[in-house]
């Protein structure tokens, strides 16, 4: 009756990891939250905060002997949208904010505008230079223009590394924490401990399955950001992978710690939120951590997600090498290492 394991038999660590991977890929919701959601978020936010070409400034040209000439001169300018109006209509349009500047019919003209409005001041400069040029003034020189709408400085460029960090945190904490608490609640952990499975294998498989999922998860988001949004990766791809890996390990440690004691999903959810919500707010996912007052900075900078986001942004946007990232990476490693050690001490197997 006893038979030796066949050639296709896999080791316990492989089997435990495989079980986790199978569970996850057979869970459509998990696939959505891990793979689709971050891409969707990047797409929507990228769209909402996309850089638009500056709108032309509406100005009124009062009808008169010079009206036609002035209208023609201003129409040639991209940043100005002139309207030819009667005097009374022009004043009314200015009062109602439909135009930002009125050019009188006099010669030379009088510019009527509100100098406290930046748009009005901009219109005055553009209108004046266009009319002067039309009247025969020559430009002393023609300046070059460096328009800063190139990839790497837009909001979406800031956003994508933050979303990657957020995703690494969420899946690390939930992926490990949720599955362990479910296994504890259903007596599966106890059953595994009752079998000759090594505890290091049981927990190691959780970590391994996390790292396996990291590849498609981070890969999908980065590929989408690169192809669809033009978000650059200026630093080494290898370093980016390394930083993501360290981030995933650190948050797996935190997930393990959060899941070390709770017996129910509800209990675990509360703890997870307690850990994650502050980082959603303070760790610079959607806006820079610089916006928090100096007194909060020590707290903000000590959070593992802040360190991960900073490191990801440095590699992707600034092309940073390993050396400048060492403080962030050390902080992440410390969070991960300490969490693992404490989690193993506290871990409830039954």
């Amino acid at each position: 009756m006893p038979e030796h394991a066949g050639d296709d038999a896999r080791g316990p660590l492989t089997e435990l990891t495989l079980a986790r991977v199978r569970e996850l890929v057979r869970e459509p919701e998990a696939v959505f939250w891990v793979f689709i959601f971050p891409i969707l978020l990047a797409a929507i936010l990228g769209l909402a905060f996309r850089s638009r070409p500056p709108e032309a400034l509406p100005v009124a040209v009062v009808a008169g002997p010079h009206g036609g000439v002035r209208l023609a001169a201003l129409s040639a300018q991209a940043e100005i949208k002139p309207h030819l109006l009667a005097e009374a209509k022009a004043r009314q349009a200015l009062a109602r904010g439909k135009v930002v500047l009125v050019i009188s019919a006099d010669d030379p003209p009088v510019y009527a505008y509100d100098p406290t409005q930046p748009e009005s001041r901009a219109a005055r400069l553009a209108v004046d230079s266009a009319l002067q040029r039309a009247a025969g003034r020559a430009d002393a020189f023609i300046p070059g223009h460096a328009e800063l709408t190139e990839p790497g400085t837009r909001y979406v460029d800031f956003l994508v590394p933050g979303l990657l960090g957020m995703n690494l945190m969420g899946t690390g904490m939930w992926g490990i924490g949720f599955s362990l608490v479910v296994a504890r609640q259903g007596n599966l952990l106890k059953r595994l401990v009752a079998s000759p499975a090594r505890r290091s294998h049981i927990l190691g498989a959780q970590l391994l399955s996390r790292l396996i999922f990291l590849v498609p998860e981070a890969g999908a988001l980065l590929l989408f950001a690169w192809l669809a949004l033009g978000v650059p990766v200026r630093g080494s791809l290898l370093l980016l992978v390394g930083v993501s890996l360290l981030g995933a390990v650190a948050f797996s440690g935190l997930g393990l710690l959060t899941a070390a004691r709770p017996r129910t999903i509800e209990g675990a959810s509360g703890l997870m939120n307690l850990v994650m919500v502050p980082m959603w707010i303070f760790s610079g996912i959607f806006f820079s951590t610089e916006r928090f007052p100096a007194v909060m900075q020590p707290f903000v900078q000590a959070l593992p997600l802040t360190a991960l986001n900073d490191a990801l942004r440095a590699v992707m946007l600034e092309g940073a090498g390993l050396a400048p990232l060492l403080p962030e990476l050390a902080l992440l490693a410390a969070w991960g290492g300490i969490s693992f050690v404490v989690a193993l001490k506290l871990f409830r197997w039954q």
């Binding site: 038979e3 394991a5 435990l16 569970e23 009752a194 079998s195």
Partner: protein, 317 residues
């Protein structure tokens, strides 16, 4: 070839086992020995300490005092070497819903250096047709059989089954019984806990009856029933008005009656021969102007042994 002499060691032995939870004493000085090749039952009501005791045997809990020896070994260190020789079924295990039956077995098989082929384990618990079904699609009985297969996959020398049929429908229960009988036929040592006396009577070579964390009776099911001194039980309920006239002395004096117990308005008589006791009982009632509102007889069972010892029933005790 000369075979070495088999050392006559017990499969399991415990002495003076005590386990407390706060003020509650779950196990109160338990002594047991399970011999190799036997199916040993621990029978008792809920809360009798069966599960606590079994989990101590399984190395999942530590006793406050006492000794446990499993397959001649003690629990120490990670206990992996010992675990490889044991099969364990917990009272309830929720296997991952999305895994297939075959995958769960393959997972558990990977923990053992030697054991059964997956196909063999599936056959043993009659789950061949469900091999590729996900756990979530299984019925309660099928899940329980999967759990049994996981306990068998390492081809264990000693198998622990903690209430293997609790919560199952009668058909699933019979199916589980047949599997255990198959194991017995192959000489496996089985320790099972149950609060179903039919289960203990049918499956077990020897039964320990537990109450309040102690063994209150031990023997083969036949010996335990025989200890009642009679093989039958007659239960009679007498109408309210005349019940006062009936006393234990009167009933005990009836022919063939070995024991008398009262349970509310109902009398329980342990009798050797029903055909002699019942006419005498009816005669005694008629003499006192009393009528029986209910009269039943059955073969004495382990339940009756438990009641005789504790005055309570197994199920609702």
């Amino acid at each position: 070839m000369v075979l070495p002499l088999q050392k006559a060691e017990s499969a399991l032995r415990c002495r003076g086992l005590v386990k407390r939870y706060g003020d509650v004493v779950a196990v109160a000085g338990l002594d047991l020995a399970v011999e190799r090749g036997e199916c040993f039952g621990m029978l008792g009501p809920n809360g009798a300490g069966k599960t606590t005791a079994v989990e101590i045997f399984e190395g999942l809990r530590w006793p406050d005092s006492g000794e446990v020896e499993v397959l001649g070994d003690e629990w120490r260190g990670d206990g992996l070497a010992l675990r490889r020789r044991l099969g364990i079924q917990l009272q309830e295990t929720k296997f991952p819903d999305k895994l297939r039956v075959r995958e769960v077995l393959s997972l558990f098989r990977s923990f053992y250096p030697r054991g059964l082929a997956i196909a063999k384990a599936l056959t043993l618990v009659a789950l061949e047709e469900k091999a590729d079904a996900q756990v979530r699609t299984l019925s309660g009985g099928q899940k329980q059989r999967l759990s049994l297969a996981c306990a068998l996959i390492g081809d264990p020398e000693l198998l622990f089954l903690d209430e293997p049929t609790t919560g199952l429908d009668p058909q699933s229960r019979r199916q589980t019984w047949e599997i255990v009988e198959g194991l017995k036929a192959r000489g496996r040592t089985v320790l099972l806990t149950t609060h179903y006396m039919e289960e203990a009577a049918r499956l077990c070579d020897r039964v320990a009856i537990l109450d309040h964390g102690k063994v209150i009776a031990l023997g083969t099911p036949r010996e335990l029933v025989a200890s009642l001194g009679a093989e039958h039980v007659v239960e009679v309920t007498v109408d309210e008005g005349a019940s006062a006239a009936l006393t234990a002395e009167v009933l005990a004096a009836l022919p063939s009656v070995e024991g008398v117990a009262r349970e509310g308005g109902r009398w329980r008589l342990t009798v050797r021969e029903v055909h002699r006791a019942v006419p005498a009982l009816l005669g005694a009632l008629a003499e006192r102007g009393a009528t029986a509102t209910e009269l039943t007889t059955h073969h004495a069972s382990l339940e009756d042994v438990f009641m005789a010892l504790t005055g309570r029933r197994l199920r609702d005790a």
